[in-house]
């Protein structure tokens, strides 16, 4: 037998894949339970993942804030039960209610740990007046996570390390093959439990998320035989599309809170032809999470209905705002971020420069950029992912938010990571260590190295662009049959071309083409599952809008799942798990009408 292609083998009880909130929280509770823990992160903890891109903050219910965090000013009428009901309603009844129950029950204890890290980080989180929510900059939140990982020095930390494949032996997940980005070395982590906490996935060219959201954990689970679900649902946020130096910023969404109703709006929202995209008055005053869905519907429907690239189709038109109004609005914007952003800036954007641009050009090109993916690995309330030894937490999972995320993604990762660590450690306790070198490991390593010797198939960067264009054109905010079929054909073509991709550099050290080739595999799987689900779901529900099926269909109160069977993707449906909130048989001619019906109820869940 020759020299192994695996450069190092690391043995541990629990391997956590992912270094943001879910990962750091899982590592914390696993270590607390007495397990040995290794954590791998694609970037650096606190400087990667979508948590560092946030513009607002996060919260929990008032009841938990009072009970677990001792915050007396928190509103006692904001109960766990009310949050449970609101989350289920917002999901358009596709949530698995056992998962929602875990979310509301364990957010309090999880947040208590986060606040301990916050104290260690020099206090980055600002408690809001309501007493149960916190404001934070993305960078500040990252510092809190960094304090969290430093608070558990017992963890074996491998940053800038990408998970390539699950190691599965006789039906059990026994580890992960990973790649050190800088050196190109292959590491095999052998563990009794693997927790996937790799965040979501981002198929489109317009990004307000971190650049590497290729759905690694979701695809690893899928390739290992686990079920993934709800892949057709993405949350979009108004994002600057042009010019390039401002692009990717969620500033337009934040600005919308300041524009306000009244005789002198700061801007009008129009499509490319100048026609105004009006949000009806009954929706315009919504300031809850539902606001995002309102924008998706009213700003997305026209511009994104046609079979062409979105992102250049929505404009914030400031023509009617005079200099005084602009100055006043930008001052208010700056004020709202005082202490959380450097003076005069919002992240990389120089606010004076942006104001000048708006004064000159009058219009700012805005698109609906993907912020979060509701879909992912199917789990139960213990964060088990259906394969022995496999767990998942955070945006990587599906089941909490269903068709629309009416709650906080940050809280999701903390509450789920918290539980995942305990579950993973419990399994590891008392299990004998694996002593044999897993038989399939050498094959996995060869597969990981294969792109370095690919021939004739074009560049991985071009393949990625093709995949993004397919999603931009046919799997975007508003879908239709022809567009989805075209997007699927393109995605399958990219997938078929993966083995032949040719790399111009065979160097192992920091080879971006190699990383692209490997992670493209993951994004292809995620996109394929999402497009197939979108084709099957002949209705509109939550964030899945179809121009050819605009109605919310009560027969479609079902989840769509995908799994790998016999080398092909098999799609199936099942009913959501109901625990306390039966699914009403109601439909509606449109998603907007569905929301409006609930808004009219005195004791409705839409707030």
């Amino acid at each position: 037998m020759g020299v192994s292609k695996v450069d190092e083998v690391i043995r541990t009880d629990v391997l956590v894949v992912g270094g943001s909130g879910a990962g750091v929280m899982a590592a914390t509770t696993a270590l607390e339970s007495g397990a040995s823990v290794a954590l791998i992160s694609k970037g650096m903890v606190g400087k990667s993942g979508n948590a560092i891109m946030i513009g607002g903050g996060f919260g929990i219910d008032g009841e938990s804030a009072r009970e677990y965090l001792g915050i007396d000013e928190a509103d006692p009428s904001s109960t766990r039960q009310s949050l449970f009901e609101r989350t289920v309603w917002n999901s358009f009844y596709l949530s698995d209610q056992n998962i929602v129950r875990q979310f509301v029950d364990e957010s309090g204890p999880a947040l208590r740990k986060l606040l301990e890290w916050d104290a260690l980080s020099g206090k980055q989180l600002q408690l809001n007046a309501r007493g149960s929510s916190w404001g934070s900059s993305g960078l500040g939140f990252g510092k809190v996570l960094r304090a969290g990982i430093k608070a558990i020095p017992g963890v074996e930390l491998h940053e800038d390390t990408i998970a390539i494949d699950l190691i599965v032996e006789e039906g059990e997940v026994i580890g992960v093959l990973a790649l050190e980005v800088y050196s190109g070395r292959l590491l095999a982590f052998l563990a009794h439990s693997v927790v996937l906490a790799t965040g979501g996935h981002q198929p489109y060219s317009l990004k307000n998320s971190i650049s590497d959201m290729t759905g690694d954990g979701v695809a690893l689970a899928y390739r290992g035989g686990a079920v993934i679900a709800d892949m057709e649902f993405y949350l979009y946020l108004p994002t600057i599309a042009a010019p390039k130096r401002f692009a990717g910023s969620i500033l337009p969404f934040i600005l919308s809170f300041l524009a306000g109703p009244g005789p002198a709006p700061l801007y009008r929202v129009t499509d490319a032809s100048g026609k105004e995209l009006v949000v009806p008055p009954e929706f315009a005053s919504i300031r809850s999470k539902l606001r995002k869905l309102v924008f998706i519907y009213y700003w997305g429907l026209g511009p994104y209905s046609e079979f062409r690239k979105g992102g250049d189709a929505i404009y914030f038109d400031f023509s009617d705002a005079d200099d005084a109004r602009l100055d006043e609005s930008f001052a208010a914007f700056e004020m709202s971020y005082i202490g959380r952003q450097p003076k005069g800036k919002y992240n990389k954007i120089d606010l004076a420069e942006l104001k000048d641009f708006i004064r000159r050009e009058k219009r700012l090109r805005v698109g609906l950029g993907n912020e979060y993916s509701m879909g992912g690995v199917a789990i139960d309330e213990s964060m088990r992912a259906g394969l022995h030894g496999l767990y998942a937490a955070g945006e990587t999972t599906s089941g909490l938010f269903g068709a629309f995320r009416g709650g906080d993604g940050l809280t999701e990762m903390l509450a789920q990571g918290y539980r995942a660590g305990y579950s993973a450690a419990a399994r590891a306790k008392g299990r004998a260590r694996a002593i044999a070198f897993p038989s399939e490991l050498e094959g996995l390593a060869e597969s990981a190295l294969a792109p370095l010797s690919g021939r004739g198939g074009g560049s991985p960067f071009a393949a990625r662009r093709r995949l993004e264009t397919a999603a931009d054109l046919g799997f975007n905010v508003v879908r239709n049959q022809a567009g989805l079929e075209q997007a699927l054909a393109e995605t399958l073509a990219v997938k078929a071309g993966l083995p032949g991709l040719e790399l111009s550099s065979k160097s192992r050290a920091y080879n971006l083409e190699w990383l692209e080739a490997l992670t493209l595999r993951n994004l292809c799987a995620c996109n394929e599952a999402g497009i197939r689900a979108a084709l099957l779901r002949k209705e509109s529900r939550g964030c899945h809008l179809r121009s050819d099926y605009p109605a919310v269909d009560p027969d479609w109160a079902l989840k769509i799942e995908a799994r790998l069977e016999g080398g092909a993707m098999r799609i199936s449906t099942r009913s959501p798990i109901v625990e306390g909130m039966p699914i009403p048989r109601i439909g509606s001619p449109t998603v907007a009408a569905y929301i409006a019906d609930e808004l009219r109820k005195e004791k409705g869940h839409a707030r």
Binding site: I52, N347, S459, R465, S504
Partner: protein, 103 residues
């Protein structure tokens, strides 16, 4: 714009050397240094290594730092201006080209 990049692959080269790239920067689009590097990697020379595997692109994470005409800047936010630009790694331990070791 003439973009000169200090390249070095420790596995192959004995010492660093500057390589020139001519990049057609469109006017009025507000290109950043990152846009220049992406253009070079995707259209001219895919072997170019620069920090790219986990980017915020919003000036938050600080990992895309490079030295532009001698000054350390963030590639994602620094404007691509002028006729000539020299790019070097913003650190001493070079992994490859503009990528520096951080730990």
């Amino acid at each position: 714009m003439l973009v000169k990049i200090l390249r070095f692959d420790p596995a192959r080269d004995s010492s660093p050397a500057i390589q020139d790239y001519e990049v057609p920067v469109p006017t009025g689009e507000g290109w950043t240094i990152e846009d220049l590097l992406d253009f070079i990697a995707e259209r001219l020379d895919p072997s170019l290594a620069y920090y790219r595997h986990s980017l915020c692109r919003q000036g938050i994470c600080g990992r895309c730092a490079v030295r532009a005409n001698g000054v350390a800047v963030l590639a994602c936010s620094h404007p691509a201006e002028g006729e000539e630009l020299l790019l070097e790694p913003a650190g001493v331990r070079v992994v490859r080209d503009l990528v520096r070791a951080e730990h």
